[in-house]
Symmetry: C2
Subunit: 196 residues, 2 copies
Amino acid sequence: MASAGRSTTNPRFRRILEQAARLIHQHGFEATSMQAIADACDLTKAGIYHYIQTKEDLLVAIMHYGMDLFEEEVLEQVVGIADPIERLRQTMARHLRLIETAKEITIIVNEYQALTRTAQRELNVRRKRYVRLLEDALREAIERQLIRPVDPTVAAFSFLGVVMWTPNWYRPDGRIPLHKLTESAFDMYLKGLLPQ
Amino acid sequence: MASAGRSTTNPRFRRILEQAARLIHQHGFEATSMQAIADACDLTKAGIYHYIQTKEDLLVAIMHYGMDLFEEEVLEQVVGIADPIERLRQTMARHLRLIETAKEITIIVNEYQALTRTAQRELNVRRKRYVRLLEDALREAIERQLIRPVDPTVAAFSFLGVVMWTPNWYRPDGRIPLHKLTESAFDMYLKGLLPQ
């Protein structure tokens, strides 16, 4: 029963994870009580504990939910794109969009240190798939001479840095609409700053 | 007395800040007790409280110490460089070096949410100087037609993303030495990935 309830396809459990992510994002993990999460979900604490055993489990579940969303909305959508440059472009566009629509779920990575080693390891395995997707696309683009022979690891983490830093500064209701950010950031990443 | 003791030029206070940063980086802010910080410094709790009133004050002091280091080692060293491209290059090189030498001090930004609004505002003022330095250098480079007419804000935060993401993946004792990382990352940022 509990394990069925804990699937992130269960809308009630998703709602708990989303509310918890919002509170943890605002106040930090340690400062967020299970009571506050229950209140935000209009549930009793017992109602929360039906889905999850401890606050640490909840944090792990939020992070895996973030990875589920990322894999569904980004990885699985781009992995079949034959052109490696187009694959990278779609990856950046989709990831930036996901960060904007599910910000609190996706940027809770800051609370990583609150996890056990085992939980960290499991999440790392999922994250490494992302780095590998980027490195593979870059290597392929280099082989096909679509780009210069750069170090694929440095290039992959430059890509990630550009994308993962956006929640720290970007406001979708500000001067730069999301499609413009995506276009500029990818254009700059790909073409660089010097006149061709 | 207390305010003299609290200057980050005081080596004893610096040592407290460095030890506290190390512990907070490892275990998180909430999970780090003043007792643990005192133990790590071979001091009593009273010895710590001579320098600082509360744990929140300590966190604010660490963040300002990080900004002091950044301003001394990066901003003040590059602000007089006439060529905007060279200014950007030196900024990236010096900031990457600082992150490597004072990692725990500089990446504790994750604990930002534990600060009061006032403390956040004060730190934001200092951070904005950095963004302005980057945007100014980029605008100048655009005016002098050294680079394409990109959006300086997107370009500034792409730069920041590349630099600020490094602590999440880069190990100086790994395959890529620091000078190589700096060279590749800046080269990619500047020239981009497409063959010229």
